[in-house]
Amino acid sequence: MDDFFELEADLKRLRPAPVSAVLTLQIENELLQRPGPIIATAGILAPRQSAPASWLPFGLGLAAAIALFAIALSLSRHAPDSKTVASSPPSAAISTEEFQPSSVTRVVYDTRDEGLLFPNSSPQPLRRTHYQTRETMQWRNPGTGASLRVSYPAEEVVLTPVSFQ
């Protein structure tokens, strides 16, 4: 190999042409657009990031519900300042300043089987099922009889391990 020492040095002095700025920009765009790991799908599904993104509507809905609840609570605390036309005697046993959760419902209105996934981290394939739901949470103030209801659409992706026999 010593015979080639000089030739190797010449080769190393030869520099590959630099990559175009466009290529770097395109890679940057792709990494920004589609962050996160790829899951191999054996051609059954286009790779995409699934579960974390699908919880976004649920999180936003929950945040909106909490915000509305806080506003309602704040309004109810100012209730004694307002004039009332007719009122019943207050009950000492029931706090008039509290909303209590009264019901939570979850209606599934669409279910979609999206096929099998073959993630590298799992020894067996997973079936991906996409649920579209509407969730409704309700609070009630036992003292005033006021109720607060928040309803929002939600999506959920469930990955179920599949075994073949």
Partner: protein, 164 residues
Amino acid sequence: MENAARDEDWKMCFTRFGPGLVLFARQWVHSRADAEDIVQEAFVRFWRRQHSIDNKALLYATVRSVALDLLRRDGRRARREAVAALDEEQFREPEFETQDEGQQLLAAAVDRLPSDQRQVVVMKIWNELTFAEIADILAISQNTAASRYRYALATLKKNLQHHG
């Protein structure tokens, strides 16, 4: 902050390895634009899985895999590349930055190497891979990788002496 660090990581990594990766991809396609497309897809796929350059051999294996997938997917492209290979003497985009006639001759000699020898030289010289890594990427033994490298250098030396 972590995202910013990762952002800088991939840019540093690509600045360092990008030119060698494109050179590596050129052995399957004769257009630089196609080679850059291959590198783009491979690098994005690799980085989204790894987020580091610890496994350099895997990066090159990904480039090879994407290139071979591309050729398999598009038979017309393969035929076109085969025709282009026959005509490559007519026009070929430069793969190296050459500063004098000696370097131009050397670059041309590298281009004329048989494909199996050229890819080992490209990985060894401009991508600084070890024979173990090259063997891993090409699914050959280390001895075969070293032999191809030796044959390539011998061919280059012979061609350059012939021109000199």
